[in-house]
């Protein structure tokens, strides 16, 4: 039996939906194993470390080329930290991140910079993530300049025009500054910048959350179009499950630093197993007054990731908690092909045990 929780606890390490990815030939594009990120808590400038926030506490997932994995969770679930660790915007405490076979965490900074051409990011806030002093064209061209792509300025400028057109912006707008664009247009600039280096993976962190409903749909459609055209894989980090259902191939649900369930899109939405996933789905207000709904409202707030509860981290709020839940942390088990759940209600009879999935699983 592994110790419950704790920074030293063995991670429950099956790639989210590892089995599901098997249908893709040639292995996963991204494979994250046992990723851990603990932030120190210091109570003063010179004080020692008084505790650890276990933002990400043993997350494993994989993404196949051209696939969209949605990482879903509420604030404090660790989904954004997971994305940032993959990009090495913050250094993980432990774990491995392999991209196209290469161990990203072992790469020296130089090689990591080169690798960044293939892994790009789209941020949530189209207001804060663009440099207000740069023109739209410069923002999109900057990655081309940095990586010295294209022979000379003229060729890069042609590329910028093509990129802007690709995301539905008029290249004539290239000389405008970010504040002259609407939120949706700004997010398109962010998408164009992410596309500039023809990446194979884009980490999209809540890319449509800040947008108005009517514009949100445009950007979701754009992301799907670009994926079909260029075969880009997305790690789509989001909290809105209705959006996720549109765009994802597979879904991994996070709670307090751990993946509690992962499965194909159809499975998650038609057959959610983890009580947290169910609560999350039920909590979404439905835009249809004719459909009165049965709702199990969760009681209590999510605990702090600095002091996750013993046993299953969800047990204090779980409507189905049983006796073992507050003592033993359930491992992530494959209860049906490609459907992984970390919950004592699903012992996964004869199912695959979490750690079996080594490199051969994909």
């Amino acid at each position: 039996m592994r110790p419950a929780g704790g920074p030293g606890a063995a991670p429950s390490g099956a790639p989210a939906g590892g089995a599901e990815a098997r249908r893709f030939v040639g292995g996963p594009l991204l494979e994250v194993r046992d990723l851990v990120k603990h932030f120190p808590i210091r109570l003063g400038l010179f004080a020692g470390v008084s505790g650890w926030v276990r933002a990400v506490d043993g997350v494993s997932l994989s993404i196949a080329p051209g696939e969209t994995l949605a990482l879903v969770g509420e604030s404090g679930s660790g989904k954004t930290t997971t994305g940032r660790c993959i990009l090495r915007l913050i250094e993980p405490t432990r774990g491995s991140v392999r991209f196209d076979g290469a161990d990203l965490l072992a790469l020296p900074p130089r090689d990591m910079r080169r690798m960044r051409r293939q892994i790009q990011v789209i941020f949530q806030d189209p207001y804060g993530s663009l440099n207000p002093r740069m023109r739209a064209g410069e923002i999109v061209r900057e990655p081309l300049d940095i990586h010295r792509i294209g022979a000379g300025r003229a060729e890069r400028d042609d590329r910028v025009a093509a990129l802007l057109r690709k995301v539905g912006l008029d290249p004539a707008m290239r000389d405008r500054y970010p504040h002259e664009f609407s939120g949706g247009q700004r997010q398109r600039i962010g998408v164009a910048r992410a596309l500039a280096l023809q990446p194979r993976l884009i980490v999209a962190d809540e890319p449509v959350s800040a947008l108005d409903v009517s514009v949100q749909a445009q950007v979701i459609n754009l992301l799907m179009d670009l994926q079909e055209e260029f075969g880009i894989a997305y790690l789509f980090i989001a909290h809105d499950l209705a959006v996720v259902e549109r765009i994802a191939d597979r879904v991994a649900v996070m709670y307090l630093g751990r993946i509690v369930e992962s499965a194909s899109r159809e499975e998650i939405f038609k057959n959610p197993l983890h009580p947290y996933t169910r609560a999350l789905l039920q909590a979404i207000p439905i835009p249809d007054p004719a459909r009165a709904r049965e709702r199990q409202v969760l009681r209590g707030d999510p605990p702090s990731p600095a002091q996750p509860p013993p046993g299953c981290r969800f047990h204090p709020r779980c409507p189905s908690a049983i006796e073992t839940c507050d003592r033993i942390e359930p491992p992530l088990l494959e209860v049906a092909p490609g459907h992984w759940v970390a919950c004592h209600l699903y012992p996964g009879e004869g199912g695959t045990r979490g750690n079996l999935s080594a490199p051969g699983c994909v």
């Binding site: 749909a217 209705a242 549109r246 835009p287 409202v297």
Partner: protein, 344 residues
């Protein structure tokens, strides 16, 4: 009976770049015990409407026209000193940001009690006891102890409950909730909305719920007013609005919301279903299009839409009985009325 009747309200902001008509001749009413949903996208004027009702519009904004009749009194005509007796005591506002709407240096108990003290309804000691009772009312466990805590010691959901307790302190009749759950997680949101619905029933409150979330509108509102670029473009009972939206903007908005279970099946590597969307984006309030502000994005645009701005007029049963706008439904669109206001 209407508790609130707003007619032809306009709130403008004088900026260096020009006059912004943030709220432009809007009319609506709230019946006693009713929940009116005010829905729209960013910049449509829904928050300015809320602030106008309480006459809290920050400069350079000001109410330039219209009447706000609350229980028979025209609030726009009141001197500031008399207006104060209405704020919090008759009409209370629940703010959007639980992290910024609370003062970090006072205990939450004191902040809830403050309104009671300011309005001279209670002495400090009694008000602090009442604050604990209000915290129990909004289902904060261990209220006695938590009343002595500061906002940073509480989670976002609990802070939102504190804001609701603050709004309820002086027993207002009308509650204006501006995006009360936008900043909090969906599982907590469900709890807060549940609480609002229960309290509204128990305390016989009328509620104006401002949100961009159509799901929240569908589950909480009795009647809905849809705003676009400073105007109310459609008003209807909630079931009617969702079943048969009349304004092309409302229809587009309803179509573009992703709904659970409607994404359609996907085949491995296959094409995913696209969401219908409204072309273009919300207009810049400083440079509004001519005629109907929605016309550049409208799929049903007609020549007259570019020239004239349609008035909001009753439709259906409301039109034939010549009742006032909003009794059953009203829409501002030339698809439904000609330039002379005759139904089409």
């Amino acid at each position: 009976m209407s508790i609130l009747e707003v007619s032809d309200l306009s709130t403008h902001f004088g900026t260096a770049a020009g006059e912004v008509r943030a709220v432009d001749r809007i009319s609506f009413r709230v019946e006693e015990g009713e929940t009116l949903g005010l829905v729209g996208e960013s910049g449509c004027g829904k928050s300015v409407t809320a602030l106008s009702l309480l006459r809290l519009v920050p400069p350079p904004g000001r109410i330039v026209a219209g009447r706000i009749i609350y229980k028979g009194t025209d609030l726009t005509a009141l001197p500031e000193k008399k207006m104060r007796a209405f704020r919090g005591r008759e009409i209370a506002l629940i703010f959007q940001e639980p992290s910024t709407a609370l003062n970090p240096v006072f205990t939450v108990g004191y902040q809830i009690a403050e309104g009671l003290i300011v309005h001279g309804m209670m002495k400090k000691k009694e008000a602090l006891r009442e604050a604990v009772r209000l915290m129990q009312l909004v289902r904060i466990p261990d209220a006695e102890r938590r009343a002595r805590e500061y906002p940073h010691q509480m989670s976002g959901g609990t802070r939102q409950r504190v804001l609701i307790a603050m709004a309820l302190a002086c027993r207002p009749s009308l509650l204006v909730a501006d995006e009360p759950t936008t900043a909090i997680d969906v599982t907590i949101q469900a709890e807060i909305l549940d609480l609002l619905r229960t309290l509204k029933r128990e305390l016989r409150l009328s509620l104006i719920l401002i949100t961009h979330n159509l799901g929240i509108i569908a589950e909480t509102a009795d009647r809905v007013a849809v705003m676009y670029a400073g105007r109310i473009v459609e008003e209807a009972r909630v079931a009617d609005l969702f079943a048969s939206p009349r304004h092309p903007y409302t229809a587009g908005l309803l179509r573009s919301v992703p709904r659970l279970g409607e994404a359609g099946p996907s085949t491995p590597g296959g094409r995913k279903q696209r969401l219908p969307s409204i072309e273009g984006s919300v207009p810049d309030m400083l440079h509004l299009p001519s005629g109907c502000a929605f016309h550049p994005r409208c799929p049903d645009v007609m020549p007259e839409c570019r020239e004239r701005s349609p008035r909001i007029l009753p439709v259906g049963a409301a039109a034939s009985s010549a009742a006032s706008p909003g009794a059953a439904g009203a829409v501002a669109c030339f698809k439904h009325h000609d330039g002379e206001g005759r139904p089409r």
